[in-house]
């Protein structure tokens, strides 16, 4: 089996991006972020009440490696909407502040006050669980 032909982690990441209209790759989970930048990015999504899938990249270092190779983006977090990389923490925060994030997500932004997280919230996923 050649390494080039088979890359189950990259395939699983690509599949997760394809299957989830809004997906955030982050350190930790939205409930328990393990990095300030991941926390801020998840917080922006949560405050807009937009449903999103979340993948914790920490359990297996290969997830981050393959994700960055796939997206051509060196850092975590990474937000994808409809299969496209939107950005990391800085871009997502900037877009949140200008209202562009709500636009991209197709939701209404109600003022600048963060609203309560809705029950439709994030669904943590495990890429590494698909590798067995």
């Amino acid at each position: 089996m050649s390494e080039q032909a088979s890359n189950p982690i990259r395939d699983a990441i690509q599949q997760a991006i394809d299957e989830n209209p809004v997906i955030l790759f982050m350190k930790g989970t939205p409930e328990q972020p393990m990095c300030g930048f991941s926390a801020r990015t998840a917080g922006a999504l949560q405050s807009l009440g937009a449903p999103f899938a979340a993948v914790d990249i920490l359990p297996d270092p290969r997830i981050r490696q393959e994700l960055s190779a796939l997206s051509n983006w060196p850092t975590i977090p990474q937000l994808f909407v409809n299969g496209e990389l939107v950005g990391g923490c800085d871009i997502v925060t900037e877009m949140y502040e200008t209202g562009e994030l709500a636009q991209v997500l197709g939701v209404e932004q109600t003022g600048s006050e963060p609203v309560e997280t809705q029950a439709v919230g994030p669904r943590p996923m495990g890429i590494e669980n698909r590798l067995n």
């Binding site: 983006w73 060196p74 850092t75 939107v86 900037e94």
Partner: protein, 73 residues
């Protein structure tokens, strides 16, 4: 460990005509504002990639985090 001055110099050397203001409390986390003509017409993603290109594999390593704001003059 790279200093804020190092990071500034790297960005400005990598993007012709760019001006960077860089701050760092610890030489591991950096905050940069980069103004460059070269960003004109590029998406935010592409602008950030242009800055990241100055650091190759170091982002996430020696440079743990680079907070970035890109602008055109």
């Amino acid at each position: 460990m790279p200093t804020a001055e190092d990071v500034k110099a790297r960005i400005e050397a990598s993007i012709p005509g760019a001006t960077a203001e860089v701050q760092s409390p610890d030489n591991v986390h950096f905050n940069a504002r980069v103004v460059a003509e070269a960003f004109d017409g590029l998406s935010r993603i592409e602008q950030h990639r242009l800055v990241y290109a100055a650091f190759e594999g170091e982002l996430g390593g020696a440079i743990h985090a680079l907070q970035l704001k890109t602008e055109t003059p």
